[in-house]
Every structure is written in C-alpha cells, then in structure tokens.
C-alpha cells in the first residue's frame, strides 16, 4: 500500500451537497483498506456560506484537516469558491472544477461584481485543471441532481481507489431509488480525461 497520504479538498457553497460527496469519498477509501479522516464546519456556514470539506486517506492519518499547501486535489463545486481555496493546494496540485457560478450576497445586491476570468486565473496557477459542466453531464445521465456524482467520478480517476469500492460506497450512501442514475453519472465523470 502507498504510504503517502492523499489530501482532497471539496469546496463550494452551503447546500450544494458537498458533505454527501465527501462521505462517499471517505467511505470508498475505507473500503479500499485505508485509514481515513475527514473534517468540515457545520453550523453558521451552512446558510449559503462557503463550505470546505477536507478528506485525507493513507496508511495512518493524523491531522483531520489538510495542512495548508499540501492538498493534492481541489474538487470545486463553484468557481469562486474553487479559486478561494487554491492556497490549500500543493505546487502542481490538480483542480477538478464544476463550471458554475453562484453569486454571493454582495454581488446579488449589485455592490460588487462576480470576478471575471476565474478559469484562466486557476489555470495559470494550477495548469492541471479539469473543467466540467456537471449539470449538463448529469442531465445526460438522467438527473441534474447527480451533478456532484459526475464530478466525483472525474476526481476518482485521479485517486488510487479501485472502482469497485466507489460503486460500493455509492450503493451504501445514495438513496436506493437514485443508485442506478448515480452509478451512470459516476462512470461518465470517471471517463473524462
């Protein structure tokens, strides 16, 4: 087994389903025989605020949060939040981002504008960027709600957890009616280069 710890950050806006995605990821890592730790903030931050979930797995994990500048993969559900969390990534870290913008209150009220050129910004700092339209791909899979699963599939491609454990984790964590669509969505994401 690889002794190195894998550090994954899942970031976005409260209510986007980040916690479920990080649960599936943790479960898959445990099934694959790794030690796993995961951490995030509940409470105030859930009322539409920024959310950052940390998942770490490997032979033996100590800190429940990813040390600053040691993230291997940043899994972004929203562009501005993806950009905000870049300092957590290590040099050469990978970004898998959903091509989605959600305006924060100051932008909704017209006091600030949603920053432009975020994708280029991310790309110059972290060239290993995979940008996906999760919503559209999920629609193809059969349900827009499975957008997170598509993205998770794309992330899974970059992790050393065999496919069977991802599928098992999905079967355990997703409501039974939605399992088939989510498996399809996951494999679609997993097929992305």
């Amino acid at each position: 087994m690889n002794e190195q710890i894998k550090n994954i950050l899942l970031v976005g806006v409260g209510g986007q389903g980040i916690l479920l995605a990080s649960e599936i990821l943790s479960e898959a890592a445990m099934l694959a025989g790794f030690d796993v730790k995961k951490s995030e903030i509940h409470g105030m931050s859930q009322r539409g605020g920024s959310v950052v979930s940390h998942v770490r797995y490997g032979k033996e994990v100590f800190s429940p949060i990813v040390p600053e500048g040691e993230g291997d993969i940043l899994f972004g559900f929203e562009l501005m939040e993806t950009c905000r969390s870049l300092p957590l990534l290590k040099a050469g870290g990978a970004v898998v981002a959903n091509d989605l913008q959600i305006s924060p209150p100051s932008v909704l009220m017209g006091h600030e504008v949603y920053p432009e050129g975020l994708v280029e910004n991310i790309k110059t700092r972290f060239p290993d960027l995979l940008l996906l339209d999760g919503q559209q791909m999920a629609e193809q899979a059969g349900n827009v709600k499975a957008a997170n699963t598509v993205l998770l599939g794309a992330v899974s491609k970059r992790l050393d957890i065999p496919e069977q454990f991802w599928i098992k984790a999905l079967e355990k964590m997703v409501p039974s009616k939605a399992v088939e669509i989510n498996k399809k969505a996951f494999l679609m994401g997993r097929a992305c280069k």
Binding site: V36, H42, G43, S50, S63, P87, P104, P105, M109
Partner: protein, 586 residues
C-alpha cells in the same frame, strides 16, 4: 465492525455501549449531533431540555436515581449550567454522569472561544479529552467508569474539529450487567447544606489528588519517546497536529487534562532536553507544568486566540511553509437568511423605524448584516430582554421608545422568560419581539417546548407563548404576520410608542421545517422586466433569490431578477415594489 463516525456520533455510540440510560441536552454547535444520534439507540431516553441548566439537572436526577446519564452542550452552555455543576462536584454521583462539552476554537459558530478546561479545574471535576472518533467512543465509556469509581461527575471535552471530524471507529456491544436503578436515600451525600457540604469538600480534594496519582498509570496518558531533543506535552486534536508536523518529536499525550498526572509529566520532562506544551486557547497545561517548576514553552510561540492548524504549528516552530499560491481578494460569502425566512420582514421594518435593537442568538442574528442592518447588540442567549430593560433605565423618554428586544422562540424559552418577568416587574417600557418560527433553526431545526414534539418525535404539549407572556404580566400582546410588511411596521410602531412593556409575536414558520403541514411554500415570483425601473427597492431585504442585473451599457442602470429555483414565494419583495413589477407566475 468498522464505521466512519464523526466525534459526535462516536460519543453517542460510546454512551450506548456504556449502558447509558438517559441522555439530555440543549442544542449548540458543535455538540448538537450527539443527541441527534443518541436517538438511534432505543435503550437511551434522549431529550431536549429548554436550557443547559435544566439539562444537567435532569442528568443529575437520573444519576441519583441510579442510572448512567449523559448531558451534552456547547462551551457557553456550561456558563448556564455552572450552578448545578459546581455543587454536583460535591455530591458526586450514583449512576455514572458524563458531561460532554464541545469547545469552538476559532468561533466557527460561536460568540466567544472560552476554554472549558478552566471549568474542570474551577468546578473540581475530572476532564478527559479525546483526539479522534475512536477515542471519543472509548473515552466516553471510560468516563462513565471513572465517574462511578471515583464518585465524581466526569467531563469530556471535545472541540469543533473532533466533534465534526470523522474517522474510523471499531464498534462494540452494549454492557448489560449494570444494576437496575432504584430509589435509595442518602441525604448526607445528596443534600448540600453547609453541614453536609463541609464534609464533602475535603473528599472531593482527596479524590482529585488520588486521580492525579492514578493518572500516571492510565493508558490514556501516554508517553511516546522518539527524538529526545524535543518533548511535546499535548492533548486532544492538537496531538494530531503535532504528529503531523513533527513526526519525530517525543510526545506526552494526555487523555486526562484534569487533574494532570504530575508524576508522569515529571518523568517525561526528565527524559527530554526541551519541553513544549502545544494547546489551543488558554495556557491551561502550560501554567500548571510551569507551577511544577518545569521550564516549558507554550504561549510564547502559539497564539491564545483561534484554533491551531498544521500550518500555524509549523510557523510556531519556525518550520518552512508549503504555500504554493497566495490567497486572493474575492467577494466574501457570509451566511444569509434563507429565501422566504419569516425573520427578514421584521428586520426591514425595524430598520425603517430606526429602532435600537438589543439582539439575541439564533438565525435572526443575521439581521445584523447589511442591507437589513437592524441589530445593535448581541451578547448571549436570552440577554436581549434584560439589555432592553437596562437601556431604558438610562436614556431619555424619547429614546426609550426606540428600544426593541428581538428574541427567537427557543431562546425565549431558554432564558428569555426571566428577562421578561423582570421587564414587567420593574416597569420597563421597552418592546419585545418574539420571532416564533416554531423551531430552533440556527442549530439545525430542533424541536423545543413550544413546537409540540419531543426529540424522540413524540407529540408533546406546546407552550402557549402569548399566554405565558400574559402570565408574567404583559398587558399588551400583539400577534403579527411578519410576511405582511405594512402590518408588521404599523404594529411595531404602535407598541414602541406605548409607555409600557409590550410583546409582539410573529406567527410564521421557518422555511426549513420538514414536518408536514407546518411550512407551505408559496407561489414562485418573477420580475416583469418591462415594468421594472431598476429602483432597487426589492434589494433592501437582502433576499438570496433576488439578483441585481446591471445593464449591458456599463451604466448604473439595471433590473432585478428573481431566481425561480430559490424563491419560496413569501411575497415580501412584491410589497416593496412600487411599480407592480413583481408577481407570482401563473
């Protein structure tokens, strides 16, 4: 069997495995999910209490009756429960009693970051501190055993990163050979009058001394010798950061942070060249280690404020940082009231009326944020009403009319009712607004004594809030629909003018309530672009469903837009539009 559990889930599991019979709490981040998970175990009688003091008293009763009892709260909850706690230390227990307190370094969801370890020392109660979910479960079980063995309540300290962190836990079975609870009189131990308490106090001191000595041999206090040039004394989540950042350093991991195992600390200190203490918040261990004559370094390099992280620990020890990219200035994303939240209109009206608002704690504290900007004070739960009384004692008669206390239903029943009693009793002329959204929303939708259901989802009597206000002597009680801006503003203005205590109660439920027939989503609204003149009036309520769309020509002009996926159809924005540009989709 192995499962990935949060610290809170693991504590609930630990209580179950320990044969715990009663679990009670008042919700508070990051402790809330302990009780929400305890209800999975039908063997445990789990309940929400109206506040932390009552909660601890219920646990004390269960313990005196002979059963094992768990009580949980957030750090500031201990301030409320401190009165019974300090004397409970003298009576000791019958069934084991474990008080879980979850601290919130960094104040992710709290109004202060007090360090609960001081309470353990102050109240003379032993305290354990787990470092991950497996330890949360094991330490909870051990805490019950120690509680009975030493005849003392035992505190278990968690923090946000432990309670809301998840890691792998090996599950065990519930013990079943505990004695069946039965009444047993023992007034010399349980009636704390001066004569009895004078006998008990020396016993408490003796038990603490014995526990400190026994602590040297406890497996949860563990000396791990590696590189002997650096020795680090640490506990809780900080232990994980130390292992992460300085894997070669020798560590003394303390599972019991009060009383400290002094002999073990001396032995460890003698084996390493240089001693450090790594702890979040107060120099709790450091001061005691220094008082033992050991020259330890702690708060000279680690802040007393905020939480620790691996990066902050690296900085403290002068280790290089790994930062590959710098943070960027981006628009912030603070939390916001939900679309359709019944609190929003009330704050809009208070802003319009230029009220001086003494605030309280709950979702409505977000009424402080722009553009509502209608909260002037917020100190602790229940404080709004007392503060309003106090303000009216010192300002002019004219200014008195501006003073309005704002408080949620759960908070009113927690500790607000006492303030209202005082307000009437001492003739304050302030106005109190009770934002009754039929739930404890902030902490994630818990039931409370006014919602009609218990934690176990059994139907219960719902406190009649207007009648309760009447019973304490309020003569002017008005019920308003907070989604009707005109009515809300008019009633508030009338009651603020009145030179007597008055209470205004809102009657619309939280939009997040899942129980059937409580909250009903309205028609979705939209903006008629031909009618919208871009006056921005609808933006003044700060609804997340309403967006300002600037005109393409780069001018200041633009139009409002409503996100149909987010809109809950509360109708408040329509009432603000002078041009009839907002309406429901047919």
């Amino acid at each position: 069997m192995k499962e990935i559990l949060s610290g809170n889930e693991a504590i609930a599991r630990g209580a179950y495995e320990a044969g715990c019979l009663v679990a009670c709490a008042y919700p508070g981040t990051p402790s809330t999910e302990i009780l929400e998970n305890a209800i999975k175990y039908k063997e445990i009688d789990s309940s929400w209490s109206p506040n932390e003091k009552v909660s601890l008293e219920v646990a004390i009763g269960a313990s005196f009756g002979g059963g094992r009892a768990l009580c949980t709260m957030k750090h500031v909850g201990v301030n409320v429960a401190a009165d019974p706690l300090f004397t409970l230390a003298y009576t000791g227990v019958r069934g084991g009693l474990v008080l879980v307190v979850a601290d919130d370094p960094e104040m992710h969801s709290s109004q202060n970051e007090q360090d609960s370890r001081n309470y353990a020392r102050f109240a003379k109660v032993p305290m354990l501190e787990p470092s991950d979910s497996q330890e949360c479960k094991e330490f909870t079980k051990l805490a019950f055993e120690l509680s009975e063995q030493y005849d003392m309540p035992v505190m278990l300290r968690s923090c946000t990163r432990i309670s809301h962190g998840k890691s792998i836990v090996e599950l065990g079975e519930r013990i079943t050979d505990l004695p069946t609870p039965k009444l047993q009189k023992n007034p010399a131990k349980l009636v704390m009058l001066p004569g009895n308490a004078r006998v008990r106090h020396p016993m408490v001191e003796a038990s603490l001394l014995k526990l400190s000595q026994d602590g040297t041999k406890m497996a949860i206090n563990r000396s791990e010798l590696r590189d002997k040039s650096v020795g680090i004394i640490t506990s809780g989540v900080c232990y994980q950061y130390v292992r992460e950042v300085m894997p070669d350093a020798s560590t003394l991991k303390l599972g019991m942070v009060h009383p400290l195992p002094q002999e073990l600390i001396r032995e460890f200190a003698a084996q390493v060249d240089k001693i450090y203490v790594v702890e979040e918040l107060d120099p709790f261990i450091e001061m005691q280690v220094k008082a033992m004559g050991i020259n330890a370094i702690g708060k000279d390099i680690i802040s007393q404020c905020g939480e620790l992280t691996p990066g902050r620990l690296r900085t403290a020890f002068g280790l290089p940082q790994n930062l590959a990219s710098q943070p960027e200035k981006l628009p912030g994303r603070p939390p916001n009231m939900c679309p359709g939240c019944p609190h929003r209109g009330v704050f809009y009206a208070l802003n319009q009326l230029k009220a001086y608002v003494t605030g309280d704690i709950g979702c409505y504290t977000l009424g402080f944020m722009p553009p509502l900007s209608a909260m002037d004070t917020c100190v602790c739960m229940g404080a709004s009403i007392g503060m309003a009384t106090g303000v009216t004692k010192v300002v002019s008669d004219d200014e008195k009319k501006k003073v309005v206390a704002v408080i949620g239903d759960s908070t009113f029943l927690h500790t607000g009712i006492n303030g209202l009693m005082d307000m009437v009793y001492n003739n304050s002329t302030a106005t109190v607004v009770i934002l009754d959204n039929s739930i404890t929303a902030m902490t994630g939708r818990q039931d409370n004594p006014a919602t009609g259901f218990t934690l176990m989802d059994d139907p219960a009597h719902a406190v009649d809030i207007p009648l309760l206000c009447k019973a304490v002597g309020v003569k002017n009680i008005r019920i308003v629909n907070p989604l009707d801006l005109e009515e809300t503003k008019r009633v508030l203005a009338e009651e603020m003018e009145r030179p007597e205590t008055s209470v205004v109660i809102t009657n619309k439920p939280c939009v997040l309530i899942k129980r059937e027939n409580v909250y009903q989503r309205g028609q979705v609204y939209s903006v008629d672009e031909d009618e919208c003149l871009g006056c921005r009036a609808c933006l003044k309520i700060g609804c997340p469903a309403i967006e300002w769309r600037p005109a393409d020509d780069g001018s200041k002009k633009g139009k409002a837009h409503i996100d149909s996926l987010l809109c809950n159809g509360c109708d408040v924005c329509r009432q603000l539009c002078k041009f009839d540009a907002i309406g429901s989709k047919k």
